[in-house]
């Protein structure tokens, strides 16, 4: 069972629909006990970085940290990936999980913000998430803040700056793009995670 974490950060319907379409069972939940029982965790999220403080408030931060320590596969999408870094300029008072170094920054002028649309991945190291997905593939992005390229960045993308489009370290995965909204290649990434 895949637990999709509900922490009031936007739309969970799309992620759930995509996982079910791929034939995997999932549950949208904010119940820490249910998350503990899950064998995979999906952390979607669009919206404001401060929404991650809801995870703390619901007792989910500890559950997530414990799950990562137990090496339960976890995939953060968009804000869910940014939360793995130390912090974000979007809400400096709210700390991230600090599993990865650095802070997320806002795209600056003269760029149009948010970065909305289909952009190309430069896959650095396919890892397990990008099995069958080649460099140059287009994915759908929608975000105003970007995470730095770090050692475990497996794919990067260019929009004014070069930023992390995906990270992978052990069973910890993150994607800045929306695999549930990126057509067939996005579903392939999601399938790779579900099949772990």
């Amino acid at each position: 069972m895949i637990a999709i974490l509900d922490y009031d950060a936007g739309n969970l319907t799309s992620a759930k629909k995509a996982v079910e379409y791929l034939g995997y069972s999932c549950v949208v939940t904010s119940d820490p006990r249910e998350v503990e029982r899950a064998n995979k965790i999906l952390l979607p999220g669009v919206g404001h970085f401060s929404a991650t403080s809801n995870l703390e408030a619901r007792g989910l931060s500890t559950v997530v940290r414990n799950a990562i320590a137990r090496e339960t596969p976890l995939l953060g999408i968009c804000l869910g990936m940014q939360w793995m870094f130390e912090r974000s300029e979007e809400a400096l008072g709210v700390g991230g999980l600090a599993l990865l170094p650095g802070r997320c920054k806002r795209f600056t002028k003269p760029l149009k913000v948010p970065h909305v649309g289909w952009n190309q991945l430069q896959v650095r190291d396919g890892g397990r998430l990008f099995q069958g997905v080649s460099s140059g593939t287009f994915m759908y992005f929608s975000h105003s803040y970007w995470a730095p390229v770090v050692e475990c960045t497996t794919a990067q993308c260019e929009y004014g700056s070069t930023f992390s489009a995906a990270i992978e370290r052990g069973n910890l995965f993150g994607v800045q793009f929306h695999p549930e909204k990126s057509g067939e290649p996005g579903l392939a990434v999601l399938r790779n995670f579900c099949e772990l």
Partner: protein, 256 residues
């Protein structure tokens, strides 16, 4: 590189996709639940569904259409028409939309933009603006409400800037003068809006052939362009259109 987006628009009336000229004289063009995934498979970068005759009585019908259309749709999906409150926006998003388009309600109550953005993020709020050139020799564009039926006192540039300040994530800009004509997008209107805001602008109204898309991306400075009739009636295909755009040196997502 970030690509120029081609968006297929489904104008829905009483559960069917329709398309008119200058916002009237509607013709039937199919079932939204079939057209949305079909367009996505053939290369549309995004789908927008607009309930053009939304009323409160039809709200539940619309939600059912949204649910069915979104079922097997894995590209971004925007829904608009009759969204007048945060509750309306939540219902549509729960039914499977990724973004909502708001128009008349935002003109009546601009704070609605901020309320929806506060709950779902700016990226989920598309402010739709229907603009018409005024007869005034100054060349300004006026904003019209209620599906192009009601004049407002607002000037297009001032309104899009206010919408951005209030938290809009994108502007969907429709030229009433060009809607459904196939005469080409209004590039003067589009470029003036595109440089006035720092959020993406989707051009709409007037697409008739691939050359019109090239023009609106180059001269109109649009980030995305939307069309309905050219796709519904098979005048152009997404692959054909994207090939033309590539030849013109514009970045597009291909193959899909």
């Amino acid at each position: 590189m970030l690509t120029k987006r081609i968006i297929a628009c489904l104008d829905v009336d009483a559960g069917r996709v329709v398309k008119g000229v200058h916002f009237s004289d509607l013709r039937d063009a199919g079932d939204p639940a079939e057209l949305a995934p079909a367009y996505s498979r053939s290369g549309a970068d995004e789908i927008i569904l607009l309930d053009i005759s939304a009323t409160n009585q039809k709200r539940s019908t619309l939600l059912e259409i949204v649910r069915k259309s979104a079922q097997h749709l894995f590209v971004p999906f925007t829904v608009g028409g009759g969204i007048r409150s945060l509750d309306d926006a939540s219902a549509v998003i729960d039914a499977g939309a990724d973004k909502v388009a708001i128009n008349s309600a935002a003109l009546d109550d601009p704070a609605l933009i901020t309320r929806i953005a506060g709950r779902f993020g700016s990226q989920a709020v598309v402010v739709a603006v229907d603009a018409k050139s005024s007869l005034d020799p100054s060349g300004i564009y006026e904003v019209w409400a209620c599906g192009g039926k009601q004049r407002t006192a607002r000037e297009a540039l001032a309104w899009v800037q206010e919408a951005e300040d209030r938290g809009a994530g994108e502007i969907l800009l429709t030229s009433i003068d060009r809607d459904g004509t196939g005469d080409g997008f209004d590039c003067v209107l589009t470029s003036s809006v595109a440089v006035a805001v720092r959020i993406p602008v989707i051009a709409s109204g007037g697409a008739g052939n691939a050359g019109h898309f090239v023009q609106v991306f180059k001269d109109g400075k649009a980030d995305a362009a939307l069309a309905a009739s050219v796709f519904h009636y098979g005048i152009d295909t997404f692959s054909g259109l994207k090939q033309e755009l590539t030849l013109a040196g514009l970045p597009v997502r291909w193959p899909c």
